[in-house]
Symmetry: C2
Subunit: 343 residues, 2 copies
């Protein structure tokens, strides 16, 4: 918990849930946001939309702010929405929208909200560690993450960090006996930690032990260095892919955690990912929902280092050549290398 | 999933949740039992009582059947309650009440319920594998368990098995859009498995891989042999402890998973567990709630074999002698050995 606070840059509370990241999102909606009033959901892809689905499941009134796929939300649009509708008590958004590989400008949004009395809730499940996030400095009230991305662990641990404002809201919520949550009730977690430095239910011990180790690795490297490393790797992937004739989905604010690319003209996204997996043992993700079958999503986060990125570029070059794409061998690796050195 | 069905002896559905056992219990209450009507909670200790707390959290009307601590519920009392109150639609109970180390007579209850239209829901988190359970044969409609007990894994996986009657109830429940559950909605799990042999949210992969291995070990040994092994080990612990002047908490239907004993007269339970931990590296649990500080709870389940039980008896003998109890060295081990051979 103390290591996570340093990593997430908050003096607040941290709840360690044995669940996947969605369980932690559910805990925020069901035990904190529910009962506050109306929520504004930043729907820029599958994961932003999930906040809306959770609001629906728990009867939280909400407004969906639809953002064009592949683009970050314009902070001014959020500020406008809040000015127009004073009933809004929480903004629910993602740091990195994993489905489009865009990183939202949480810093400008958080700082712009200033003394707003509502809660800024950020799902940083895929983004944390790879994309910069400074909870307290930026005014992020609640941050959700999971073990399986930047924290370099297997999935199974959900994490919710709350600043003092969020904690006060949690404490003030008088849900009565029928709170509508129990295992995923954040109050049980923060109170159990305060009283006994423990969690209220048998925890995912193996992952918590592993988390202790990964926090040592990351905090020893230092968060500024960690963010810079991910930024270098992301730039290398983007420039390497462009050198192979791929087009980036996110041209504005691409994430440093994961990159979405359209394959070169004439190459099928599914065929490329299949050959990468079968011939090279490398798994890249495909698109989701409206982007299914159209893009590749290349992760470069967690226990991922510069040589991994260069190796990946070389592997994609080879697979594209096999698929008949006009590839000049070495081009992508050279472009990626230039990005690594140049930045 | 297929291995769990063989182990739990059901032809029904199995949901694999990334959560602790309590999360799986919550899934049952929030996505299945809620909306059915009234529940009868068999409260024979801390874990039976938890069903009642979950009912309260989710606004499920329920009647608490208080059972004297250390005793199993009398099946006739359950049948009586159902005869008197036709509004009851679900019986929520445990197989093994871990806080008192009693195993309820689920077989007699399940068979006695016969064609009752409600659901018999059994928390077998600590009992499964160690204490006999045959879901379909006994008429258990829903069975909940976790990874960290008889399944020999670290905690973090919650498991819910449902027979056809429970599945029909789940399917018939029209919760509308505001279902009041999302991550812990059982319907998402069974539908995702049917459609894609998958889970709906990023799962605790490492534990699922490990579960595949432990299922092979257990199913190779065979459930009848596994149950007999646990019965032998439990008998050995009981007879060994009695030979050291300890009194059993559960004299009627003691569990084969875990044994609760009062320390010999004049010996403090906390002092004994402390010396066992510090000098022998053996951790035994203490009492919970009204039994706190009064008893020791000795687990003999999971990756636990006859030599472990003999070693434990020897270690307790040595610690009791250190604490000044009148112990005849070798007595407990001899008694335990006799039980292992005799049964």
């Amino acid at each position: 918990v103390e290591g996570l606070k340093r990593l997430m840059m908050t003096e607040g509370d941290v709840a360690l849930l044995s669940s996947s990241g969605t369980g932690a999102m559910e805990a925020v909606v069901s035990s904190l946001v529910r009962g506050m009033g109306k929520a504004l959901v930043v729907d820029a892809g599958k994961f932003g939309k999930r906040w809306g689905e959770l609001c629906e499941a728990f009867g939280v009134p909400h407004e969906n702010l639809h953002v064009q796929r592949g683009y970050p939300v314009d902070p001014e649009v959020i500020f406008d929405s809040l000015r127009k509708d004073s009933a809004i008590c929480a903004v629910l958004m993602t740091l990195t929208e994993t489905s489009t590989c865009v990183v939202h400008d949480v810093k400008t949004i958080g700082l712009g909200l200033g003394a707003w009395k509502g809660l800024l809730v950020v799902d940083a499940i895929s983004g944390l560690v790879a994309d910069e996030l400074k909870m307290d400095e930026w005014g992020v009230d609640v941050c959700v993450t999971g073990s399986q991305k930047g924290l370099m662990l297997p999935p199974g641990l959900g994490i919710v960090a709350m600043n003092a404002k969020a904690r006060a809201t949690l404490d003030a919520r008088n849900a009565g006996k029928a709170a509508g949550c129990y295992y995923l009730d954040l109050r049980r977690y923060v109170e159990s930690y305060e009283k006994e430095l423990d969690v209220p239910f048998t925890p995912s011990i193996a992952l918590i032990r592993a988390l202790e180790e990964s926090l040592v690795v990351l905090l020893d490297e230092g968060m500024e260095c960690v963010w810079n490393r991910h930024a270098r790797m992301a730039a290398a992937v983007r420039q390497g892919c462009e050198a192979m004739g791929m087009r980036l989905l996110a041209t504005s604010r691409p994430s440093n955690a994961v990159t979405a690319v359209f394959p070169p003209t004439g190459v099928d996204a599914g065929a490329l990912s299949k050959i990468l997996k079968n011939d090279k043992g490398i798994r890249v993700a495909g698109g989701q929902e409206e982007l299914k079958g159209k893009i590749l999503r290349i992760a470069h986060l967690g226990a991922c280092y510069e040589e991994d990125v260069l190796g990946l570029m070389g592997a994609i070059e080879s697979c594209l050549a096999q698929l008949g794409a006009p590839i000049q061998s070495g081009q992508a690796v050279a472009a990626a290398n230039a990005a690594l050195v140049g930045s």
